[in-house]
Symmetry: C2
Amino acid sequence: MHRTKVRIVEEALDANNTIAQANRADFDRAGVRVVNFMSAPGAGKTALLEHVVADTPGVRIGVLEGDVQGSMDADRLAALHVPVTQLNTDPSFGSECHLDANMVRSALPELPLAEIDLLVIENVGNLVCPAEFRVGEDARIMVSAVSEGEEKPLKYPLMFRACELVLINKIDLLPHLDFDLDRFLYNLDAVHPGVTRLLVSARTGEGLGAWCDWLRVAAG
Amino acid sequence: MHRTKVRIVEEALDANNTIAQANRADFDRAGVRVVNFMSAPGAGKTALLEHVVADTPGVRIGVLEGDVQGSMDADRLAALHVPVTQLNTDPSFGSECHLDANMVRSALPELPLAEIDLLVIENVGNLVCPAEFRVGEDARIMVSAVSEGEEKPLKYPLMFRACELVLINKIDLLPHLDFDLDRFLYNLDAVHPGVTRLLVSARTGEGLGAWCDWLRVAAG
């Protein structure tokens, strides 16, 4: 029974990859680079985006906002006058805990691809399933907040392994936490040796210039 | 196509509920009450359990520890000399992002039901899917850390609606966050009016006595 289940999962991922490649081809044709932006709930993805979407010179950023339901994050970003498209996994997609390539494909007609250089796809807050589903992105960024503890790379290795950049957020809280940053970095290197990592705080703005630089290169 | 997918999801949930009822009957026969303990990754479930598993007078607590992989949390709890059983969703269960009734059923032979009054099932860190799968529990507790922001009840309403108790953790961080507690409570009451809530800090111990009292009643 387990073997059957694993096979069904593999077939679903194969189908997803085929659609992801079609998405990627459409993005390439439009000259748009795409980032899949992932984290646990409350790690600060939207707050981080609020800092860079309007403030990264030379890069026109658009956002595809994934949520189970509601449009709170999309509303926050739209207030900054950047193009934002909302994608809800409930009810059309059975309340899925992640975005997949087919959901992103369904949103393609709504995306103003001619007006942007970089599309940031803000995934559903979840450290498990989003890492399993490519959506047609060029790169994957994940956010890990220091308030979540230093063992997260060991508990959710697929997510930390899947990404090209790890943003270590909420570093303004370090003086108030029992969080051993060296231990976190050791755990991170254990699952994804040498992956690019940036220490940031969406609250104080620390480290966000380096992230803007990274996004500029990614949009290049 | 969406309708077909929704039907498949409903059938899977029906099958899950049947197995959950069988689990519940086995727990009842053994005189063990069961709590399903859920939260986002890093909200502090294990740290909260460390305080109460050995320190709740009159209640013998056992833990069933759910993780995608690894046994770090189980090791932390076993060090306190309480019975802990590890359940990994990877690889046998296809790296699922939640526990379901069948996984818990597979662990039943390992559980020392004769030696405990209350079984706490620590679910995989995730605010979406764990809320959809009953596992045979009497009650559900979820932990929301104040560092995750005050809009979480609105973004993950099913989880906040599914539980009988909400532990609002990491309140020691309140002076260092832009977190509006009244706003969080307003959002909580919007999705689950009047649900029991306790303000706690696993770091300072604040509020944990009230939680022990709640567990004693649940184990009653």
